[in-house]
Structure formats: structure tokens, C-alpha cells
């Protein structure tokens, strides 16, 4: 018990009552935020327009569906495609790992907006060639192009997450499993992945959040996702609440996801806490 007493003595004295400078500043800043939030709420109440709402709320809902399906399809396709890329990154074959490295470097080093343009306008400009190959129907649709670009992009990020997670598992785990007679795939599935998932969960959650945020840029290539509908509503009504509502929806979505990931992380690391 002497240790805890020593710690208790070492603790700094409790925060003084009064009004130190930091507290004045803190209250002022919180006050500004409260004022700002109240201003937005007041604006939304003041500018409440039943007609605007009736007209655009269904479109927003539909846009939300588009955003969610775009993100989920891209995440899944990206996850599938990240497997060979991650394999290539970890491979001892120089050619394979070089290729995978270039792939990852390109997609992480260039803006997603440029990649999306490159797919939609760039590949789309080869219309005759695409028609002969029979792929024009795919690259004609902005939504498919968005999915294509987003999948390739997230595959690069997910491959790095996967690689990092697998490499974070110590070599001894592989060797131990090998000495027990498990072959490599079994080792990966039963020994390495369960440990890697714990490491990978948070980056995967962050990647999902980043994808949701990034998905707003498909609005620029004429996909009517959440942002696209907001752009349309603003262009028609010149009412800034079009963007305020969409900002609120994105913020709520991201916060739900963030807390969800934290909750899952707490659940799957229960055995690590004591």
C-alpha cells in the first residue's frame, strides 16, 4: 500500500478554484463553439423552409443510399484486390514486390480526385476502343467509374494495412505453428490473422471513415450521391442550408462509425486488459 500512498503524495494539488488564464481562455473558446452551434441551429430554424425540405429530403435520402453503396462496394472490392497486392508487397520475388510497391506508391501518392478524373474522363475518352472491347457500358456510367477508382485506391491503402498487421505478428508465431505441423495457410488463418485483426481493426475503421469522406468527390463527376444532391439543391435554391444539412449528415455518419470501431476494439481486446 505504500506505493499507492507515495503516488498519492506525488500527485499535483487539485485544480485551484479561481479563474486562471487557461480557464478564462477555455471558457471563451467553448463559448465561441456554443455560439457557433447556436448560430447554426438558429439559422436552420430561421431559414426553415418546409418546401425546401419536402423537395430535397427524399433526394438526400437517395443520395445517402448512393454514398453508402458506393463506399461499401468499393471497400469490399478493394479488400479483395488488396490480397494479391499485399501478397506481392511481402513476396521475396523482386519483380512482384517491385510491382506491388509501384502500385501502392502511385495510388497513395496521387490525389483520389486525379485518379477519379483519370478513370472517368481519361479512360472514358477512348470510347471507340472501349466499344470494340465491349466495356463502354461500364466506363460510361459515372457511378461505375467512381467505384472503379475508389476500389483501386482503397486496395492500395488496405494492402498496406494488411501487410503492416501481418508483419506485426512476431516471426516466432509462424515458427511455432510450423513446428506443430500446420502448413502456411493454416498458420495464417488460425494463428496469425486472429492476432493481426486486432492490430488492423483501427486502421481499417479509419480507412472506412476516409472512404466515406472521400466519397463526396464523386459528386464532381456527376454522381448524385449525398454531396451531389447537396450541390444540385444549392444550384437550384442558392440556399446555404443545402450544405449545412449535408455536413451534419456526414458528421453524424463519421461519429457513429468512429464510436462503433472503438466499441468493437474494446470488445475484441477484452483478453488483453486486466
Amino acid at each position: 500500500m505504500s506505493v499507492s500512498q507515495a503516488i498519492a503524495i506525488d500527485k499535483p494539488p487539485p485544480q485551484g478554484r479561481g479563474w486562471p488564464r487557461a480557464r478564462i481562455l477555455g471558457y471563451a473558446l467553448v463559448g465561441i463553439w456554443v455560439l457557433f452551434g447556436a448560430g447554426i441551429v438558429a439559422y436552420l430554424v430561421y431559414a426553415w423552409n418546409a418546401e425546401f425540405f419536402a423537395r430535397y429530403a427524399p433526394a438526400y435520402l437517395q443520395g445517402l443510399g448512393t454514398t453508402l453503396s458506393l463506399v461499401s462496394i468499393s471497400m469490399v472490392l478493394g479488400a479483395i484486390f488488396s490480397l494479391p497486392v499485399a501478397y506481392g508487397r511481402m513476396s521475396k520475388n523482386r519483380l512482384l514486390s517491385g510491382l506491388a510497391y509501384c502500385y501502392v506508391y502511385f495510388f497513395r501518392g496521387t490525389p483520389l480526385l486525379v485518379q477519379t478524373y483519370l478513370v472517368y474522363y481519361g479512360i472514358g475518352s477512348f470510347r471507340p476502343e472501349l466499344e470494340t472491347v465491349g466495356l463502354w457500358w461500364f466506363f460510361r456510367e459515372a457511378f461505375y467509374c467512381g467505384v472503379f477508382a475508389f476500389s483501386l485506391n482503397t486496395a492500395a491503402y488496405q494492402a498496406e494495412i494488411l501487410r503492416g498487421a501481418i508483419e506485426s505478428v512476431p516471426r516466432g508465431q509462424w515458427e511455432g505453428a510450423a513446428s506443430l505441423g500446420l502448413h502456411r495457410l493454416q498458420t495464417l488463418r488460425k494463428v496469425v490473422l486472429p492476432q493481426a485483426i486486432i492490430v488492423a481493426l483501427r486502421p481499417y475503421g479509419n480507412e472506412l471513415i476516409l472512404m466515406i469522406k472521400a466519397s463526396a468527390i464523386v459528386a464532381i463527376i456527376t454522381v448524385y450521391d449525398l454531396m451531389g444532391n447537396a450541390k444540385l439543391a444549392y444550384a437550384k435554391s442558392f440556399d446555404i442550408q443545402a450544405y449545412i444539412w449535408v455536413a451534419i449528415v456526414y458528421l453524424v455518419m463519421v461519429e457513429i462509425l468512429r464510436h462503433g470501431v472503438e466499441w468493437i476494439e474494446r470488445r475484441i481486446t477484452v483478453h488483453l486488459h486486466r
Partner: protein, 238 residues
């Protein structure tokens, strides 16, 4: 229209587009470099507030990062680009009823990128703050330095060294995020390449050029940062 070879299109001068794209690259670099000090300063103070013992300061800083990390960059940009003139106009019209306000897209981009960059940088600074043991502060106070002196002379040099790799990532994403400002008509790399693509109908060529330029900027910055890192490392070793 005579068929132009790729090399004519990419040449420097009235027929080619290299000079236009180069001016765009300059805008991209200037925008990123102009954002960097503002973002770093705000990020540092936000991180400072986040690890402060005063709960109200922590709350204010947490709201800041939650908002600007939670909003898509594009939404923040549009909110500012379209919303700020309205707000400013409302305020200015209280004094001068005939004033009109126009927001420069460079300024709007700079503000938005600073907000986003600083909220990400603050997380990096925060973890660096947590990596510095308390004894460093106490040592500083013990030899009679004031709070501010301790921060400047003892904590900050270590903080920069710890935070540097994380800040490099923030810088790379800042560089990539500058492309978003093309959406509000700032004539930066992507915008200029897009104009060239639309005029010449060689979309694939010019968007590839834009992609390669961003790639080159990323490579250049990683060369620069590894140089700086070596420099920092040497100072530490001495």
C-alpha cells in the same frame, strides 16, 4: 483541326500546355507552403489545449478536431467558399449596406486546408506531447525557467523531432488535398490539366500528367524530409 502530336501538346509555348500546367504547379506548391505554417501553428496550439489540465480547453479543442476531421474536405470547402461570403456580407452590411463580398478561392482554399491540416497535425502533436516525460517539464522549472521558456527551449525541440514522421504524412495529404481546391476554380495543377484536357480532347494524357506531377511532388517531399530527418537526427546524436 490538324492532328497534333503528343510532344507538341506537351511543349512549352503557345501550342503546348506545359507553361500553363507549370503555372498551375506553382499555385499548388504556393498554396501548400502557405498553408503549412498556419496549419502547424494552429495544430500545435490545439494539441497543447488537448493535453492541458483545464477541462474546458480540452473540450474546445476536441470539438475542433471532431468537426474538421469528421467533415469531408469537399463539404468544408464548399461550406466556406459559399457560406463565408454570406456571413461576411451579413456582418459588413450592418455598417455599409451596399458592400459586396467576394471570396478569393486561394484564400478560401488556404483557410479550409489549414483547418483540416491542423486538426490532423494536432493528433500527431498530441501523441508527441504524451511521449515527453513529465520530468522534462519539472527539470525546466527546477532550473528556474518560466512555463513559456520551458516549452520553447526544452519541450518544443523534442516535440518536433518526435512528431516529424507523423507531420510528414500530414504534409503529403495536404499536398494531395490541394487538388480539391480546383473544384472552386483555383487555377492549380489539376485545374490547368483539366482545361488542357477539355480543349485538346486528350483527357488521358493530361490527367496522367497531373497524376505524375503530384507523384513527383510527393517524391520530392520525401527526399526533402529524409534530408531534414537526417539533420535532426545528427543534432540529437551530438
Amino acid at each position: 483541326m490538324p492532328a497534333q502530336s503528343i510532344w507538341t501538346l506537351l511543349s512549352w509555348g503557345p501550342d503546348g500546355w506545359s507553361d500553363d500546367i507549370a503555372s498551375g504547379v506553382l499555385v499548388t506548391i504556393v498554396l501548400a507552403l502557405a498553408t503549412l505554417p498556419i496549419g502547424l501553428t494552429i495544430g500545435f496550439f490545439v494539441a497543447f489545449a488537448k493535453q492541458h489540465e483545464e477541462p474546458s480547453l480540452r473540450l474546445a479543442a476536441n470539438i475542433y478536431t471532431t468537426v474538421f476531421r469528421g467533415l469531408p474536405e469537399l463539404v468544408t470547402l464548399f461550406l466556406f467558399f459559399f457560406g463565408m461570403p454570406l456571413l461576411l456580407q451579413y456582418i459588413v452590411r450592418l455598417f455599409n449596406p451596399n458592400a459586396t463580398i467576394d471570396v478569393n478561392s486561394f484564400i478560401a482554399g488556404m483557410i479550409v486546408l489549414s483547418l483540416i491540416f491542423s486538426s490532423y497535425a494536432s493528433e500527431v502533436f498530441l501523441s508527441a506531447f504524451r511521449a515527453i516525460p513529465k520530468g522534462q517539464y519539472e527539470g525546466g522549472y527546477a532550473i528556474g525557467l518560466s512555463k513559456w521558456q520551458t516549452m520553447r527551449l526544452i519541450i518544443l525541440p523534442q516535440l518536433i523531432r518526435i512528431a516529424f514522421p507523423g507531420l510528414e504524412n500530414c504534409w503529403l495529404s495536404l499536398l494531395k488535398d490541394t487538388s480539391l481546391v480546383s473544384v472552386v476554380n483555383l487555377a492549380e495543377t489539376l485545374r490547368q490539366s483539366g482545361v488542357a484536357a477539355r480543349v485538346t480532347k486528350h483527357s488521358f494524357l493530361f490527367y496522367s500528367v497531373a497524376a505524375l506531377i503530384f507523384l513527383a511532388l510527393a517524391i520530392l517531399s520525401s527526399i526533402a524530409t529524409s534530408y531534414i530527418l537526417r539533420h535532426l537526427g545528427r543534432r540529437e546524436a551530438r
